[in-house]
């Protein structure tokens, strides 16, 4: 009994070294029984056509390398099951970022926004000998925030980020901003809020929720953004 099956793909291809313009490639591949995820299928496909380029590393949804647009929705190839996926499987690069090659995008702008929120703990008191104490309840406040893998699925599905990638921090960056605002050990609350008090950086979010819909780690940037907005309001009164 053979459980081999053939699957059809439609893949965005572009190699600036040889292609005048991007095109969609129709290609199929025969899968082995052990090929359970889309990433397995892509690896199988690459054995057939070694010029197909994509990023990948951990193959378990924790490194954030293999985000792409899968049948119209951003996601991680390594967490996308081959069982319930419609064919032909249409793969495109994450929308809104410059394409380097095939489904590999230039993420400079995305990381620039992440860096702009000062993504590190700020506490200028002399470090104590032992750990700073934090109650389990206070630590729980960081759940749903610190787990972000910087895959960019969210920001590249956000219309506000498409239009203003240089000005709007985007859901991933704002989630990170709230991660530090919510940390009882961080002392830079007002500095962080000042940094976001701007018509674009925070307030371009119109709660469209695309970001929540696509996050492969089930995080909720919209909620975090709402909490930052609440903090802004509270400090204004």
């Amino acid at each position: 009994m053979s459980s081999k099956r053939t699957v059809q793909f439609k893949i965005y291809r572009y190699d600036p070294d040889k292609d005048a313009a991007p095109y969609m490639q129709d290609i199929s591949v025969e899968l082995e029984e052990s090929d359970k995820k889309l990433l397995d299928a892509l690896v199988r496909l690459k054995a057939k056509d070694d010029s197909l380029s994509f990023r990948r590393s951990c193959r378990e949804g924790v490194c954030g390398s293999d985000a792409m647009n899968i049948n119209g929705k951003n996601g991680l190839a390594c967490l996308t099951s081959m069982d319930d996926i419609a064919q032909p499987i249409t793969l495109r690069p994450l929308p809104g970022l410059p394409v380097i090659r095939d489904v590999i995008v230039d993420m400079t702008q995305f990381f620039k926004q992440y860096h702009s929120i000062k993504p590190y703990l700020i506490n200028n008191e002399p470090a104590p000998e032992r750990e700073r104490l934090q109650s389990p309840e206070d630590r729980d406040e960081l759940n749903g925030l610190y787990e972000c893998i910087l895959c960019a699925c969210c920001s590249t599905s956000c219309p506000s980020f498409w239009w203003n990638p240089d000005k709007f921090v985007g859901p991933a960056g704002l989630l990170a901003a709230y991660r530090f605002l919510a940390d009882t050990r961080d002392q830079a609350t007002s500095e962080r809020l000042d940094n976001l008090e701007d018509p674009y950086r925070l307030f371009r979010c119109h709660s469209i929720m695309n970001c929540v819909d696509v996050c492969p780690k089930h995080l909720n940037p919209t909620k975090a953004i709402g909490k930052i907005k609440d903090m802004m309001v509270r400090r204004a009164v």
């Binding site: 949804g61 490194c63 703990l121 960081l142």
Partner: protein
């Protein structure tokens, strides 16, 4: 071809835990540093570490570094160097508390301290009862740690070269290290990174095996580069097979699951570890648990239609505990095993996980090689830390949570050594040999012009199958012998791989071909070193080693209490003594004894 040259005080290859920890030391001291990495730093495989990092903080149960040292030496089956081990366990609290100060979101105890859980092989009172020594952030400790370290480096303005692949080590006629060549993946351009100090932190090489918990990028690049440049590799026969990889998928299920109370069961539902390790049971050392599992499977007590795995059961834990302490595991299990561990046990098999061996270093992070009768002479300008290095603290078998500790302690130590060597004026920029990039350019040129060669994935698969079959959990004299012949054949094939993609831009066919060169070095080192070591010790267990009073568990201290050194050139072996003397007078050497749990 003209090759661009960039000059730095120091170049660090690798931005995982070890590389980032070292980088912090250099950036904060103001050295002009370049950190090269194949992937964006937070995508390094440290991100996948789950269970925790060891430190005898004693937040939940009484603990001290003496017990930690004993466990580590015993875990290493006495192959670990006791000076380096003493150094590491004494520094543990300091480096873990530092991470907390950097913002790492550790779980907390009720009184607000860092949460700690039990882990395999870690005990109170010299092997008596399990101890809570693993400092954890849920089951995402590596992710929390790597992000905290990256974030701290953002604060320190560390200069990264992201998606740059180091290709070859540059040495001069005296053997001093002068930097590396590297290829920018986006453009395919090769540059020379000329530096006073070079630190390798390139991580593990688990992809030499067919079934592995390691990421695609864990191809042993640093280890391969060092070997090709004439540096011997230490103790490469010792590979850790983690007891609980998801059957079929290879994805890891942390030992922390057993730390939280998980139990391994065979086909009849028996908790079989009670028979093999009456004291620590499911929390015995990894090599012991993996062998017990394979024995159960080999003797027909495996589970499933093919009786080819065992079950990891946590259905007796409350859903609250599972969701709070093991949320990532629940997700992995649903994703990759198709079972929700709240309701049903997870199918698991021993899976290649960690390389105990690597580039030989001392506890300061200096790379050391034999010279003029001294087995440990530092190579000028060359340092290494993390999984690619062998300090050697893990010896023949690493304890869980000791690797994240290793990369913090020795990443920091390597950084400190470079800073102090730099400040004392010992590090100078030595002139580059002529055509320093020739080797790298020739490798690329070969791939450009190769015809009638095999495809990279075919040769890689042949290597992985050979390693899996001939150098697995249990090793057999005849299989090892045959394995050596086979792996040398595969190595020959790797010289003629062919790629169709000739683009300069993000050519992953080319990077995979270059990675294969590194994997092959590691695979050869492993097979040849394993064939030669005629005893059982830690993770290296062979059928012809006899368990008797003279050689307990097949361990032959009279002939084999020594480190292996494998040289790529001439495929040659050498040996050097194990350091049995601790660093200070604070502790007596841990005396040799039979290992039982």
């Amino acid at each position: 071809m003209k090759v661009a040259k960039r000059t730095f005080d120091a170049v660090i290859v690798g931005a995982g835990g070890a590389g980032l920890r070292a980088a912090l030391q250099l950036s904060e001291a103001g050295l002009k540093t370049a950190v090269l990495t194949k992937v964006f730093p937070t995508r390094s495989h440290t991100v996948a570490a789950q269970g925790g990092v060891a430190a005898s903080l004693g937040n939940s149960t009484e603990d001290n570094w003496h017990w930690h040292m004993y466990d580590t030496v015993k875990g290493s089956d006495w192959l670990g160097d006791q000076d380096a081990i003493e150094f590491m366990v004494k520094k543990a609290n300091e480096v873990v508390v530092e991470l907390e100060h950097y913002g790492m979101p550790f779980d907390r105890t009720d009184n607000g301290k860092i949460y700690q859980r039990p882990f395999g092989g870690h005990s109170q009172n010299y092997g008596q009862t399990p101890v809570s020594r693993s400092c954890a952030a849920a089951d995402r400790t590596g992710h929390a740690m790597l992000h905290a370290l990256y974030q701290r480096n953002v604060r320190a303005n560390t200069q990264f070269f992201v998606e740059w692949m180091a290709m070859d080590l540059i040495r001069n006629a005296d053997g001093d290290v002068l930097g590396v060549t590297a290829m920018e993946m986006e453009t395919g351009e090769v540059s020379i990174f000329h530096a006073k100090a070079t630190i390798f932190a390139t991580g593990g090489s688990g992809r030499i095996y067919y079934s592995s918990t390691n990421a695609f990028i864990n191809t042993g690049d640093g280890v391969g580069m060092a070997a090709r440049a004439g540096i011997p590799l230490e103790d490469m026969e010792f590979w850790q097979f983690h007891p609980t990889g998801v059957a079929g998928a290879g994805v890891l299920i942390t030992e922390g699951v057993r730390g939280e109370g998980g139990i391994l069961r065979n086909a009849s539902g028996e908790r079989f570890m009670e028979r093999y390790a009456p004291n620590l049971k499911d929390l015995a050392s990894r090599d012991v648990v993996s062998r017990s599992m394979v024995t159960e499977i080999n003797e027909g007590r495996g589970c499933g239609t093919d009786k080819d795995h065992v079950l990891l059961d946590i259905t007796h834990l409350s859903p609250e505990t599972i969701n709070k302490r093991l949320p990532g595991i629940r997700e992995i299990s649903i994703q990759f095993a198709g079972v929700d561990p709240i309701k049903a046990p997870i199918p698991v098999v021993p899976t290649c996980h960690y390389q105990m061996g690597g580039i030989p270093t001392n506890y300061k992070g200096q790379v050391v090689v034999p010279k003029d009768g001294n087995p440990n002479v530092p190579v000028a300008g060359f340092y290494a830390a993390g999984e690619c290095a062998c300090a050697s603290v893990h010896g023949a078998n690493r304890l869980g949570t000791n690797s994240l500790l290793d990369l913090l302690v020795f990443g920091k130590a390597a950084g400190e050594t470079v800073v102090s060597d730099f400040q004392s004026g010992q590090l100078t920029l030595k002139p580059l040999p002529e055509n320093a990039a020739d080797v790298s350019l020739a490798r690329i040129a070969r791939l450009e012009s190769q015809t009638n060669g095999e495809e990279v994935h075919e040769v890689r698969l042949a290597m992985q199958r050979t390693m899996q079959k001939h150098a697995g959990v249990f090793r057999f004299a005849d299989m090892l012998k045959e394995g050596v012949t086979k792996i040398l054949e595969v190595a020959e094939r790797a010289k003629h791989t062919q790629i169709k993609d000739k683009s300069k831009v993000w050519n992953t066919a080319r990077t995979e071909a270059l990675e294969l060169d590194n994997l092959i070095e590691v695979a050869k080192a492993t097979m040849v070193s394993a064939e030669a070591r005629k005893e059982s010790r830690g993770a290296h267990v062979r059928d012809d080693a006899i368990d008797c009073a003279e050689t307990p568990n097949g361990r032959d201290d009279k002939n084999w209490l020594k480190h292996t050194l494998w040289y790529s050139e001439g495929n040659r072996l050498d040996y050097k003594p194990v350091t049995l003397q601790p660093m200070s007078a604070d502790v007596e050497p841990i005396a040799l004894a039979k290992r039982t749990y």
